[in-house]
Symmetry: C2
């Protein structure tokens, strides 16, 4: 007997999505831009490969497709309103760095900027575009990674739908008991 209740298929993303929300930056035709993104996953360790999905109509989509470079910046909970704002505006109309008072810093191996206010930043190059036309999915290789040293792990945020986020809580080391 199934003891659970049906869940709308349209709510499935609220269960799966909660990886860390990130802000992806690009630089294209002299314009630096930022988008908020939650659809990404590791797909390889060495070199680190990331699969990510960007809406086809996003201003960043064209920039990523053309330049094949980006930076994935990881914000902490302190930036939650900025993350929302960046996600609810388009770079076709505004300069998001200015509007949201974020500071672009030069990356080392890509032209896309690092966001100073984010606690970690990953410089990435697009290494596979075969899934772009069907799924809007890019395969990125992280070519350089940056992190702000901290005593405690930074608290990232995980989107659970409709502008609601769950913040990192306690950290647990799981014991694996060989029986």
């Amino acid at each position: 007997m199934q003891t659970k209740k049906p869940l709308s298929l349209l709510k499935v993303y609220q269960l799966i999505e909660p990886g860390p929300v990130v802000m992806l930056t690009t630089a294209y035709k002299g314009k630096q831009n930022i988008m908020t993104m939650a659809w990404l996953t590791m797909i390889g360790f060495k070199p680190p490969l990331i699969a990510c999905v960007l809406g086809k109509k996003k201003y960043s989509f064209a920039a990523l497709k053309k330049t094949k470079e980006c930076v994935i910046n990881i914000p902490t909970v302190e930036l939650i309103e900025t993350v929302m704002g960046v996600g609810n505006t388009t770079g076709s109309e505004i300069d998001k760095f200015k509007k949201f008072e974020l500071t672009p810093e030069p990356a080392t191996l890509v032209d896309a900027p690092i966001i100073k206010e984010c606690y970690a930043s990953l410089e990435c190059k697009v290494v596979d575009t075969k899934m772009v036309s069907k799924y809007n999915m890019f395969i990125l290789e992280v070519v350089k990674a940056w992190i702000t040293p901290r005593k405690k792990r930074a608290r990232t945020i995980h989107h659970i739908g409709s502008g609601v986020f769950v913040v990192d809580g306690e950290i647990i080391k799981a014991r694996f008991k060989k029986k």
Copy 2:
């Protein structure tokens, strides 16, 4: 000036991976099996599509490739040691349902079992295998979803490397201020 410090490329996954850890079930040649998985992301809303990566040597890899069906079961923090145990054993040697005292329940649209003890379960069919040979990546369509009704949101766990997990903390509704 870059104010951050370099991070080992091998630790990048600790930043990106923290989506909810799940347990994927399969049924193949009369054997039900479970694996722990953290590399997955939504890639489509309607129908809900999930991209996930399974190690090629995993017992579940062959089962998923052959049967094209699975269930993604989402555990809460109470199951953390089970999740670790399932992730550190292989179905080629043991019956994980028995070993870890998990209860298989029949799903409705796939032969793979639902794990009763998980708070949500997604019945999935493989709809694209083009990325399997290169990236071990399957595209799944969620065809039926189940959730245990609760007053509070269930606390899922997010793997941050080496058997360490961060547990869901507070929930925040972000305000988007149109300026």
